[in-house]
Symmetry: C2
């Protein structure tokens, strides 16, 4: 989690040349890349707060959703789906299993592999997080406006898929 999104200089520096003046972001202010980053960080932070009230975090939400929607998924498949190395996933899955949200079963026909599934507790936690996510979405929707929403999301998808 991050601190505030401070864009005003608040205290001190009364003798600095920039003292009192608002910060000049220069070209950053108009660039897509920079604003994309600022918006994502603010959105992520807001959802982190919602999640924290449930004792979870945004990353767990995506993992739980992927397991719920793809019952029996393996850790390697899950890591590919979330774009992280399998070794990054080991502690995450371990945590979810330890807390009783996810269940792992060896596959008989290939005993190297695990199948992941949500437990009842996992489904319950996911339901709570999904509710928090819907609330967060409504907040975002209000800022976007209904007319522009579809186009906005389409552009985001295009960037995610095609930027190089």
């Amino acid at each position: 989690m991050r601190k505030g999104k401070g864009t005003k200089v608040e205290g001190g520096g009364r003798n600095g040349e920039a003292a009192g003046k608002p910060i000049d972001f220069g070209p950053l202010a108009t660039w897509v890349g920079f604003n994309l980053r600022m918006a994502q960080e603010a959105s992520f932070e807001a959802f982190s707060h919602h999640s924290a009230a449930i004792g979870e975090n945004p990353g767990r939400f995506a993992t739980l959703t992927l397991i719920a929607r793809n019952a029996g998924i393996s850790q390697t498949e899950l890591s590919a789906a979330s774009g992280r190395d399998k070794s990054s996933l080991t502690p995450v899955v371990e945590d979810l299993v330890r807390r009783g949200l996810v269940e792992r079963k060896r596959v008989d026909s290939d005993r190297r592999t695990y199948r992941l599934n949500l437990t009842a507790a996992g489904r319950k936690t996911l339901a709570l997080m999904t509710r928090a996510a819907r609330k967060h979405e409504r907040n975002l929707d209000r800022l976007i406006g209904p007319r522009d929403k579809k186009r906005f999301v389409d552009i985001l998808k295009r960037i995610a898929a095609e930027i190089e």
Copy 2:
């Protein structure tokens, strides 16, 4: 930097229940928050590549720009402007000074404070990074389309400023 954005399961798992099937992202696929994150990560990664060719990274670019545009800014002001704790900024500034891109001067009237300014080398590096950023922006522009750009950026700004 991240691995690929893999959304297809590639190898193995031939016996898992999800084997061969494309991954179902469920509600994630349509939610703004999730797509914002994916787009930002992809954009950030792309710009990381451009920056790496100059021997820098996206974070350095923002820091150099802020110093260039706010000559004599203090570290506390800079940390407020970039939304990070001042202690997070110490190693960043230290690195920029060590590499001769930024110059620090004690303020006579308040000897606790430093004023930060770019050196000639810093201005040169910033110019190179700005050129890389413009190229990255053109790539983003192509994906967004000229008609939607202003509205798209306005929405990002609104999210950054107002989401809670």
